[in-house]
Amino acid sequence: MDQEDMDLRDYCILESQRLETFKSWPFKADAPCCVSKMAEAGFYWCGNEHEIDTVACFVCGKSLDGWDANDDPWAEHKKHAPRCAFVNLGRAEKDLTVAEWLELVIQIKTYLINKQYDQMRKKVVKYCERKREELIKSIKG
């Protein structure tokens, strides 16, 4: 695993980047649950043609679906991920200070590093368990 494989630009740390991820969305721009409000509340789109309303938070990674047109993205975010650092600041990107935003970016990076290594560890443990079984079989059999 290399340093280069984790480019923060791929993780929607800017509102404009999050806005661009919304390939399709069931609600119109005048609904409370519109694309721009979703991006403002920290969500980026991670759905597909079958689940077009799946989004995730760029800081806490909380994934949510089953949205209604009248849902308030900020309120739902707070409800489902009360410990998210972004929702606890409770302000749109343009109203955050640079210091606050940078702290968030550092937090995201920590979260991503841990996630990456947890996944890798899981894979390694699974692979080794399989190999261990094979080893036992090859010697006993």
Partner: protein
């Protein structure tokens, strides 16, 4: 009809041997896996530490940039941090002269305008005093006047507080707002004041991980015998010597069977590849003691070859 009797013991022995191989192999396998996983953890920690140092680097950015809103920063056309900083400085200077103009035009607005002006100035942390400004606010420079409850409290109490007084205990008695401010922003200042400035320098050194701080280690083999199974230390592994002092292994592990003979100016390393001729320099550098050791080594190798030959 008689048949060859199968000894039960022989079968049992075969099974026992099999079990033993299995348990040895499994133990080796588990060791390898553990090593790999701890390497992985080490790498994770390394990445996290890098991230932490990046965070510290970010915190050294000028305060005026930290205090900016993201919206303002993104609206700016400047590309690098230095450019942004210069632009902000210019803007601050322009604001200052505008403020002075308004102050000069109406003296009633003075207190209100001054407040805003001072806050921005102390926030930016950089003073570019224009001539009009110094002329007007003589004897009341921004740095002389404290801004905000925290800094005014600091300015008042700094001289009165004894150096040994504990800052945290002092704030407990006062109201809640003081406690919160002391625990967040000025925590480091108060902590420093509660400790003596005279420090023993030795106490600051990083303490070496001593063997007696870890769980006791029992040697599994007798390393002094002529033939013992040993392995090379892995990189980063803590090696504990038999007398208990810790060593960090730095030599890479070797996967081939080699013989290393230390000589006075280096090491002769015999590799398991065909050797054509021995360079006369090598012969010269071998002394009598090394020679006797090499002969002993040869007889040991011969014994090993003899006992293993034909079994593999």
């Amino acid at each position: 009809m008689p048949r060859t009797k199968l000894s039960k013991n022989a079968k049992r022995n075969r099974d026992a041997a099999k079990d033993e191989t299995l348990s040895t192999r499994l133990r080796e396998f588990d060791l390898e896996v553990d090593q790999f996983l701890s390497d992985l953890e080490f790498k994770r920690q390394e990445r996290l530490d890098e991230n932490k140092s990046l965070a510290n680097l970010v915190r050294t950015l000028p305060q005026r940039i930290h205090d900016m809103k993201m919206g303002e920063l993104m609206a700016m056309e400047e590309k690098t941090i230095d450019e942004v900083n210069v632009a902000l400085e210019k803007k601050a200077a322009a604001n200052r002269s505008m403020m002075n103009a308004s102050l000069l035009s109406s003296s009633k607005k003075k207190s209100k305008g001054d407040e805003g002006y001072l806050t921005e100035d102390s926030g930016s942390g950089n003073m570019i005093a224009t001539s009009a400004y110094t002329g007007f606010t003589r004897g009341m420079t921004p740095s002389a006047r404290p801004v905000g409850p925290l800094s005014s409290a600091k300015a008042k109490s700094r001289n009165r507080r004894s150096r040994s007084a504990c800052g945290y205990l002092n704030t407990i008695g006062s109201n809640s707002s003081t406690i919160s401010s002391s625990t967040t922003s000025s925590r480091t200042t108060t902590d420093r004041m509660s400790r003596s400035r005279m420090r023993t320098p030795l106490n600051n050194r990083v303490k070496a991980a001593s063997a007696d701080r870890a769980a006791p280690v029992t040697p599994k083999v007798c390393p002094n015998t002529p033939l013992s199974m040993l392995r090379y230390p892995r990189i980063g592994e803590t090696v504990i010597s038999l007398t208990g002092s810790p060593i960090v292994a730095q030599c890479p592990s070797d996967t081939t069977a080699t013989v290393n003979i230390p000589i006075k100016d280096g090491v002769i390393s015999l590799r398991p590849t065909r050797l054509d001729a021995v360079h006369p320099d090598f012969i010269e550098s071998i002394d009598a003691e090394t020679w006797s050791q090499i002969k002993e080594l040869q007889s040991n190798l011969n014994k090993l070859v003899k006992s293993v030959d034909g079994k593999i």
